[in-house]
Amino acid sequence: MAGFNKLVTTYAEALAGLEDDMTLIAGGFGLCGIPENLIKEIKRKGTKGLTVISNNCGTDEYGLGILLKDRQIKKMIASYVGENALFEAQLMNGELEVDLTPQGTLAEKMRAGGAGIPAFYTATGYGTLVGEGKEVREFNGRHYILEEALQGDFSIAKAWKADPHGNLVFRKTARNFNPMAITAGKIAVVEVEELVGEGELDPDQIHLPGIYVNRLIVGEFEKNIEQRTVRSAP
């Protein structure tokens, strides 16, 4: 077990080696399933010049958005940034570089990055700004553009349960980009709500095998909700 024990006990240890100007891939969709405490640790560390790859950039007050305040992010690769006024402001005045990437293409770029596939063809974005400057090929009468895989020096992600091997189980839509983000990071750091003992997860029910996980830490989560929508009882 010893060599396979991924558990670390402090957030400083979890992100040891993360330096200025590195590329970071983060799991999460909006504020759902984000590695809250790892993001806070990056803010505390003050790492700068980061290229961050994530579907969204949090809100002004939470998630990756907190890294915008101290100008820690140099470039953002994301599909949707609409919740974040600071993001839009930094983008408009040229402080922040942004590569808007279609959501499915972004997920596949991470998946490919973790699976050793350097690039793939997709019809998504053909004939749009996204396709500009990219190789176009025709297959069965349809046009596709060549999209390259993404990898990170680090990836940060959040799961529900883990065993010490780093075998992971996600909960509901907090899964989202997390599995692909983990596979595409050279050093993958995952924070979880609950650590269970070796052998306590059913191997058939593991969502992501521990081989992709380098460091594991147990955290407490605020789980903020962006749009609390309810119906009234009948």
Binding site: G30, L31, Q103, G104, R171, N176, R231
Partner: protein
Amino acid sequence: MSLTREQIAQRVAQEFRDGYYVNLGIGIPTLAANYIPAGIDVMLQSENGILGMGPFPLDKDVDADLINAGKQTVTLAEGASIFSSADSFAMIRGGHVDLTVLGAFEVDCQGNIASYMIPGKLIKGMGGAMDLVAGADNIIVTMTHASKYGDSKLLSACTLPLTGKGCIKRVLTDLALLDIEDGKFILRERAPGVSVEEIAKLTAGELVIPEHVPEMSV
């Protein structure tokens, strides 16, 4: 009278067929879930990783780990499944979703759609819209026919950055239901009480008006 948001949603829902997997975009399309015709079962796909999305939760059942693509808290329907974003877009890109409904700023008679960006004014990002329009065969775009200044949004060529090229075949506005064929809009139905002339006046792209244009039933 032009259709209300609810009436547009109601007309969209008439396109649902029993056994359809449907992806509804943010805004008016989402409202269509409230008008699923009796006797019809559809499974709603939410691109952040749900097949079988249910209604909003009761206050006591709100779960931060269960949201839709609009970041709203939701529930799961019977028979639901959950998956990663990569799996979600594999089913979208792979053409497994039967119907996609989404909004737009502009559509043109070449089937082009613009919905994600107004240069210099609004940069929100395309989210999953580019993947949805590229992956689906059966797409309905819902939008207002003209801007509040009376400028047509059904153009001969989109002026804003495109979300997809040549992929839209059907548009439902507050005034009309139109198909796009061979570089032309074809007027299929008009909103109750709206004249063909009114629609023609607010359609900038080439419009074909068949002899009989029925009123929608909403």
